[in-house]
Symmetry: C2
Subunit: 141 residues, 2 copies
DNA sequence: TGAAATGTCACTAGTTTTGGGACAGTTGGC
DNA sequence: GCCAACTGTCCCAAAACTAGTGACATTTCA
């Protein structure tokens, strides 16, 4: 889980939007601060839009802005928006193996994965964009 | 975190060893049930040995066996033994950027990663090999 | 002494991830 | 109405990572 950089980039984008407090920010500007290219970011922003976390504006002067106040955006939503794989990546093993351990491994690992995902989501639910901003980002002058 | 299959394969190996209750099992036999090749598994078993979870025997009749009773092996140890990367894989962004969001992003993401790792380890600490066996693997006849 | 293992290294193949270009469509301002 | 500045989306190339596999010296048992 959280194995690719989508989650961390999404947080960067969202914090940057929160910092810019309602202003529309272009993918070009966001790409510059995140350290990637605008095209890639637009794809990521698309995921956030589908999840209802940001809105985007087409055309000249367009870009992205938060769909809600930073205090109302929690990281569990970001997690669900950006992460498609289960918490534990499992190897494939033969469910029809003569070995009873192999036969039940998928269910066993699935159980562990579900437990981990649950505690991770619960922890992320406690964290809001507003909280992150207050704790880590100095006020704009 | 838990992005490669080492963690899940390690659990498979350990459960298989617990199932075989003290007998020495060769990497060949383990590879068959796990669904990989012996050479790769020997590398993984090496990590478990370094972590003190299994012992291995060289030479003919050699292989691996648990270093302790299944009730004394908890999954947080397996996590630490197999996972080298932090919980949240973060993108690289310029800590000397003029953007105050970028400048503090590493610390921000590090904080989130640490919180997640902590709850994951805490949850894994509740799970023992013995518990997994009892819950998921039918008794040997 | 021979057979059967491990430990370890190196190489390969395949997959995934990221970088980046291109371009139609949309919008705002003059 | 036209131009400039964006997004959304597709595609392809490059890079990184993962797992698969073979080889072989070393160890151990019988």
């Amino acid at each position: 889980m959280l194995s690719n950089t989508h989650f961390s980039m999404a947080i960067h984008v969202l914090v940057a939007l929160a910092y810019n407090d309602g202003r529309v920010v272009s993918s070009d500007d966001l790409a510059r601060t995140v350290g990637t290219n605008p095209s890639f970011l637009r794809g990521l922003i698309g995921e956030l839009r589908e999840a209802g976390l940001v809105e985007t504006r087409l055309g000249k002067g367009g870009g992205a802005l938060l769909a809600r106040r930073p205090a109302k955006i929690r990281l569990d939503e970001v997690y669900r928006a950006t992460e498609d794989r289960p918490a534990v990546t499992t190897h494939v093993c033969d469910g029809r193996s003569p070995c009873p351990v192999a036969r039940n491994m998928e269910e066993l690992l699935g159980g562990i994965s579900a437990r981990l995902e649950q505690v991770v989501v619960a922890e992320l639910k406690k964290i809001t964009l507003a909280g992150l901003l207050k704790k880590y980002i100095p006020r704009k002058k």
